[in-house]
Subunit: 136 residues, 3 copies
Amino acid sequence: MTMPLIELKVSSPSREALVDITERVQRAVVESDPTLSGMVNLFVPHTTAGVTINEGADPSVARDIVEGLTRFVPREAGYRHSEGNSDAHIKASLIGCHVAVPVELGRLRLGTWQSIYLAEFDGPRTRRVLIVPAPA
Amino acid sequence: MTMPLIELKVSSPSREALVDITERVQRAVVESDPTLSGMVNLFVPHTTAGVTINEGADPSVARDIVEGLTRFVPREAGYRHSEGNSDAHIKASLIGCHVAVPVELGRLRLGTWQSIYLAEFDGPRTRRVLIVPAPA
Amino acid sequence: MTMPLIELKVSSPSREALVDITERVQRAVVESDPTLSGMVNLFVPHTTAGVTINEGADPSVARDIVEGLTRFVPREAGYRHSEGNSDAHIKASLIGCHVAVPVELGRLRLGTWQSIYLAEFDGPRTRRVLIVPAPA
């Protein structure tokens, strides 16, 4: 059986940023199966980026999240890893690389204020997001 | 196809609290499909609340988690978002709005000490939790 | 219906450690269903351990994550819980006890640098990891 795995390419604009991918995920779900009901899995196959869901209405929330994370996971703190991006690895594990969202008849069942974000912690880069529909 | 999506309403008692919803989730699963084996997805459609699984036996653990989060994500820290609840948005992304739990013949396969909590960071409010069974 | 739930036992070597379980998860998936395409769910039924995905190539990344978490969730901080392991409970909720990974024809679709880790915060102990395949 072929898995209906969809892959998005997402460009991040700076070292740290939340990139709103809600519309692209919604479009991919509808194109894959407009009658899908169940869950849609999102998986980021990277170790210095993740996926998170948070407010999309006021862009200052995304900036507060990025800056808030840096306040308690500082860029320099005597880390051992020689690439100098240990802060990004720690943030990726805190935010997580997987989430699943309910879908009903092809529409994401997000809350009113929720947007889906690729969370970049070591950009700018082109990242991948895997989308795996899971019918109920 | 109709998705067997169940919606719980959960009242939180204070600005920050972990509200134990284990029994309500268990009951919803059994009422929906008493023979369900697979996973049950829990999704919180809010941006200042989340869902987490942690110890349910000693209520001081839930208080330590809430207070521990506030220690490194302070309520005031020069945030930009004008609603004054950026700390709650940051905590929501750290805790996450989705989790899935194994289910066997209608029973949640939680560990001995695990309870499921609605994690409130900007209450008191009435919150929603979406429950989506996923048969194996 | 019997759920194809697989249980791994994982020994952790110290109080805090990331234990790489990638190969064991891959083997369990192949033995359970070598043609599986969809997602595989991993669930840790403990309250002072979790599961995370991060870099596996340089072991200093895992150490940086463990030490970075301890920097902002200190072991002693006036916690109430009498067992003296509240830091471990907080870290477990930050990292999470569930993740799902895409699988294609029996192979985990992890990114090039990704490994799956049992995240131990109150060891050394023997921990359990539940594996639940979810065909697409």
